[in-house]
């Protein structure tokens, strides 16, 4: 399938999620907006507690009290499909947040599927893999004959690279990688338009992780679904995602095409994250990470939540919450929420470190920690 990466699939508008706590309200997601194109891999990166999973669950309408979606809409743009002729909802865009439970049922899984982080917990330990795949088909297409269901289950396992004799295996008989593959097979069962993957490979070893990513990319190529890929591992995301959004304390702080984000990060937090993982190539040099630690969502700093850790923070950062804006006309797709790019607030101009493109390529700082090699 040819994928048009410009065709809109999902438009998330001003989503906010609160958790009602005994001690007050906790704003887990704050006014987040982004657009997902058909066939796109959208990476959502952030540290623990940044709200990235909450945002994904909000899109899938999976949140339960005490989590409440307080505002926003998720517009879904359907496209008539040959393989789902029974769909009669037409091709008009609709807001996922307005769906009734009955309307939500066909939307989930046929349009939007989720791969959860822990494969062991999302598979039923007392049912075989085959039974669990067929269960999905049975629930959504009750009229499907048994033989066809079985064939589809075999086909799905084959797609993710599992031999069909594993159909009767139970989850405990499979390795971690195979379990995660089966989960992906189940997510693919109804040919969804978008799959949300919540840290799908975090519990796996790097080699297995790489195999699974290969598989996901190959399947995306074949079926043209979109992926919202949630992870804390920005280095991984840079490799696979088309567009990356960085979350911090419940807000999007920067969003840009992966390459642009890597070559020229604009937000000081993104810049810090990019300097937080050692590289395998190039000169070995001292790196610093980001001082301080991620904020407690019960007491988010005023203004820009990142200001206590930011080395460029100035007066306005403590009082005014920055909005996403386009910092440079050269890169219209890059948007950043930072006062440094607002000339009216920051007359001093953009700091040198964030202005020079190719931050990762500079080799000015010499290696001080650890020591050089004795030869």
């Amino acid at each position: 399938m040819v994928t048009q990466k410009t065709e809109k699939l999902l438009e998330v508008k001003h989503i906010s999620v609160d958790y009602a706590m005994a001690s007050g309200t906790l704003h887990a997601v704050n006014d987040v907006s982004f657009t997902l194109a058909r066939g796109q891999i959208f990476g959502l990166a952030g540290e623990s507690g940044s709200g990235k999973s909450t945002l994904a669950y909000a899109i899938a309408r999976l949140l339960r009290p005490p989590a409440v979606v307080t505002q926003g809409e998720v517009i879904y743009y359907p496209r008539p499909r040959l393989d789902q002729p029974s769909d009669d909802e037409g091709t008009l865009p609709f807001d996922v947040m307005d769906l009734t439970p009955e309307e939500l049922r066909p939307f989930r899984w046929r349009k939007l599927a989720i791969v959860f982080q822990s494969a062991m917990n999302s598979l039923n330990p007392v049912l075989s893999i085959g039974a669990q795949i067929e269960d999905v088909l049975k629930a959504h297409y009750p009229e499907m004959p048994t033989g066809a269901r079985r064939d589809r289950a075999v086909e799905l396992l084959r797609l993710v690279g599992i031999a069909s004799d594993r159909l009767r295996s139970y989850p405990h008989e499979l390795s971690g990688g195979m379990r995660q593959r089966s989960i992906i097979a189940i997510a693919l069962a109804l040919n969804p338009d978008v799959i949300i993957m919540d840290e799908p490979t975090t519990a796996l070893d790097v080699v297995v992780q790489r195999e699974i990513l290969h598989k996901v990319m190959a399947l995306r190529q074949e079926f043209g679904f979109s992926v919202i890929f949630i992870t804390h591992d920005l280095s991984l995301l840079l490799e696979i995602a088309d567009t990356i959004a960085i979350m911090y304390a419940g807000r999007l702080v920067e969003t840009a095409p992966a390459e642009q984000l890597y070559r020229q990060p604009r937000h000081p937090y993104t810049d810090g994250l990019l300097h937080s993982f050692p590289t395998l190539h190039g000169p070995r040099r001292s790196m610093t990470g980001i001082p301080g630690s991620p904020p407690d969502l019960r007491a988010v700093p005023s203004g820009c939540a990142f200001h206590p850790r930011c080395s460029f923070a100035f007066g306005a950062c403590q009082t005014v919450v920055p909005a996403l804006g386009t910092p440079s006309a050269d890169a219209p797709e890059q948007r950043v929420a930072c006062h440094l790019y607002d000339a009216s607030l920051n007359p001093a101009g953009i700091p040198e470190q964030l202005r020079s493109p190719g931050v990762m390529e500079e080799a000015d700082s010499s290696l001080s920690v650890p020591k050089g090699e004795p030869r």
Binding site: G176, V207, T279, L280, V369, E373
Partner: protein, 375 residues
């Protein structure tokens, strides 16, 4: 601060013959050595008359720790790297081979012998959320080792030393942290407390078992840099256990790679990561996330098709080299026995028949795969 600076006492003259490690690495005497160390965990029999079963967790492992040097031990989960750390900390007893501290074989499992050993060798655990006791204050955590190892006798001494310990791990102002409970601290702060607790014993050797993998990405480097600084200040021998080969390159002078309980490659970190020889190390490096692949056209789909299979069961591991079922270059001899160590110069060595000059069944004159030539 000065209260904690150790005097490097005169070493006991070590009687060592033969070279068990890379002696070129340091002019100094090794502090801690593992010589042909093995560990087997017996398992319950399936049936009364059934066969004895066991997990062969670590096979024939030798490593040498020198003062003031960091060695990284890299491997996937289940490779036995944590078992090595626990053997060296004497939390487990060895099933074969021996551990030498300052040239002398350690023996005796009496509380007294273990305590005097742990006065010199301290372990930092992976998870700072479970390695600190939730019902005790930070002061209590740090007071215990000071008392146990006889470094503090009065409460004034205690407070002074606890203060300086906290300051050394950058938890300032120390007075504020002293009377807090673990749940009041962030993950990074907790791991700093765990590091301070290990330092309280004034050890010569620090074994760090995945010290940063539970921490948020942005603060990992901070903790690694801290360990690096402490290593320099106290002339500590440091074993850094990790699954992240990029951080091994960043942090450690030498890197050892372990697969399914066997050491497969080792040498100066830069050598091992830039010119990996063993097929497993090559696989590990190919699989590691690498943002530099971005935009190079190959992305995740390029290369790494050799990544097949998963690590074996250690109850019935493959014979010979345990990597042979996954190895793209496996030869018949690989199934028969574990390859001997081949020295490749400048301290770099590997256990692989591909590099053995006179392997029994070398199929060609130059069997060395050129798979990594693009690096």
């Amino acid at each position: 601060m000065s209260g904690l600076s150790r005097l490097d006492g005169s070493f006991e003259p070590a009687q060592r013959n033969g070279k068990n490690g890379s002696a070129f690495l340091s002019m100094e005497e090794p502090v801690l050595e593992a010589v042909h160390m093995r560990k087997v965990f017996p398992l319950r029999k399936l049936r009364f008359w059934g066969q004895e079963r066991s997990v062969k967790a670590v096979e024939d492992t030798s490593l040498v720790l020198y003062p003031g040097r960091a060695i990284a031990l890299v491997g996937e989960s289940g490779s036995g790297k944590t078992t090595v750390a626990r053997l060296l900390a004497r939390l487990y007893s060895v099933s074969g081979g021996e551990i030498r501290f300052r040239g002398r074989q350690v023996s005796g499992r009496s509380a007294r012998a273990l305590r005097s050993y742990r006065r010199h060798v301290q372990l930092i655990f992976q998870d700072p959320f479970s390695s600190l006791n939730p019902v005790h204050t930070i002061r209590y955590h740090l007071r215990r080792p000071l008392r146990l190892h006889g470094h503090a006798h009065t409460s004034e001494e205690e407070t002074a030393q606890i203060t300086s310990l906290l300051e050394r791990v950058n938890l300032t102002p120390a007075e504020q942290f002293m009377d807090k409970f673990p749940h009041q601290l962030s993950g990074g702060q907790r791991q700093r407390v765990a590091i301070a607790r290990a330092l309280a014993a004034r050890p010569d050797v620090l074994l760090a078992d995945e010290p940063v993998s539970m921490l948020d990405v942005s603060i990992r480097l901070d903790v690694l840099n801290l360990l690096s600084r402490l290593k320099e200040e106290d002339h500590l021998a440091l074993l850094y256990i990790t699954h992240d080969i990029a951080s091994a390159r960043y942090f450690a002078d030498d890197t050892l790679v372990m697969y399914a309980g066997q050491m497969v490659e080792g040498g100066p970190s830069e050598e091992v990561t830039q010119q990996p020889k063993h097929p497993y190390t090559q696989l590990l490096l190919q699989a590691a996330p690498d943002p530099d692949r971005l935009g190079s056209g190959q992305r995740v789909l390029g290369g790494a098709e050799t990544a097949r299979g998963e690590p074996p069961s250690l109850i019935s591991p493959p014979s010979g080299c345990r990597f042979h079922p996954r190895c793209p270059f496996a030869m018949p001899v690989c199934k028969e026995r574990f390859p001997p160590r081949t020295d490749l110069g400048s301290g770099h060595w590997t256990h692989c028949f591909l590099y053995e000059a006179n392997a029994d069944s070398s199929p060609s004159t130059s069997p060395v795969p050129m798979q990594m030539k693009e690096r």
